[in-house]
């Protein structure tokens, strides 16, 4: 490069030793692609959780019983998607209230509760479900696909998805009461 500059200053054309053009193009192209990948990765990590008003990511949850729940099949229903783990102490604060809420809504048929067990071991997870008498469907987050789709930052987090598949509420941290849970679900339901 410096050589070329000197040649240009001396009135010469920098044709010799300027290196193959395809090589430079390849290097610059590779650098651009790499920077693009890094930028996309950085953007994703900086985005934070999916926000209310955005379309909720589609997901498939296989429960501990082997039943498959595909979010696409629940159009027209409110989905309460709760991320939890057996090692998570704050999750225990809301476990009983979530179960109570489920018992209140389950006969209506227009609300479904789903529990996603995040980065957990099955025996401990099943022990947790038994301990809190949780009866709504729960399953492991296989490959952490669901938590990655929702870009969760930790547990517990709860996502309320309305009948159109739009996220209506994001609860970071535990619900503090049954009334709080109902206050975010009731406005979405027909009277």
């Amino acid at each position: 490069m410096i050589e070329d500059t000197h040649k240009i200053l001396d009135g010469e054309t920098p044709t010799e030793n300027s290196g193959p053009k395809w090589g430079r193009l390849l290097i610059w192209g590779g650098l651009l692609i790499l920077m693009g990948i890094l930028a996309v990765g950085l953007k994703r990590t900086q985005e934070g959780p999916v926000q209310p008003g955005q379309a909720a990511p589609e997901f498939v949850l296989t429960s501990f019983d082997g039943e498959i729940f595909n979010s696409a099949n629940y159009a027209g229903k409110v989905i309460v998607l709760n991320f939890w783990a057996s090692w998570c102490k704050p999750c225990e604060q809301e476990a009983a209230d979530l179960e109570l809420a489920w018992l209140e809504y389950k006969d209506r048929g227009d609300v479904i509760f789903l529990g996603v067990d995040y980065v957990d071991t099955e025996p401990e997870a099943l022990g947790y479900l038994t301990k809190f008498n949780i009866s709504y469907p729960n399953g492991p987050d296989l490959g952490t696909r669901i938590s990655q789709a929702f870009r969760i930052r930790g547990v517990p987090e709860t996502y309320i998805i309305d009948q159109e598949g739009i996220l209506s509420h994001v609860q970071i941290g535990p619900f503090t009461s049954l009334a709080q849970i109902k206050s975010v679900i009731d406005p979405l339901l027909q009277p």
Binding site: M1, I2, E3, H6, G19, I27, G30, L34, I37, A85, S86, W87, V119, D120, T121, E124, P140, L142, G143, T144, R145, Q148
Partner: protein, 170 residues
């Protein structure tokens, strides 16, 4: 009864020897149970755990991670080892459950290849750029050589100064 007593007395040294040997054998049996090959040691578990990361505790290897989640994972590794699973089978189980990111060394597939290719390629490119730079600097060097002595002498001011210095009686 008398016959029975005399039998015991006659054989008492032998019975005593058997009893002593049995007592001595007890701790050995306990040791043998401790070294049961089916029970994985902490070292066995940590050998696998050191090559894994729990997604909850980023950048902390599983073998030294102090959270309850990591303790549960280590217990699960121990359980799988005692069931006769191999290291690769255990790692694959965790990958299936929690994704590739649990592995300290990502599998050589898809975008993961970037992890292995980018550093050596960047090094080669850097070395090439440095080599070219050094080549260029070497070729420029003669142009920055000092001016010939004659040029300096033609300077009137310097010549006069030197004359005066030579003429002065210091």
């Amino acid at each position: 009864m008398k016959k029975h007593s005399s039998f015991i007395l006659y054989h008492s040294p032998f019975i005593l020897l058997v009893l002593v040997l049995a007592i001595l054998a007890l701790p050995m049996t306990a040791l043998a149970q401790d070294a049961n090959p089916d029970t994985p040691t902490d070292d066995d578990i940590n050998a696998i755990a050191s090559e894994m990361f729990c997604p909850v505790c980023e950048n902390v290897p599983l073998d030294v991670c102090g959270t309850q989640a990591c303790a549960q994972w280590r217990a699960l590794i121990g359980e799988k080892l005692s069931q006769g699973w191999t290291e690769n089978e255990i790692k694959q189980y965790f990958v299936d459950q929690y994704g590739d990111r649990v592995l300290a060394e990502p599998p050589r597939t898809g975008f993961n290849w970037l992890v292995y290719l980018v550093p050596p390629v960047a090094f080669i490119i850097g070395a090439y750029v440095l080599f070219r730079g050094i080549q260029s600097w070497r070729q420029i060097e003669p142009e920055t050589a000092p001016l010939p002595a004659e040029t300096a002498i033609t300077d009137d001011y310097v010549a006069r100064l030197e004359d005066e210095l030579r003429g002065s009686d210091w």
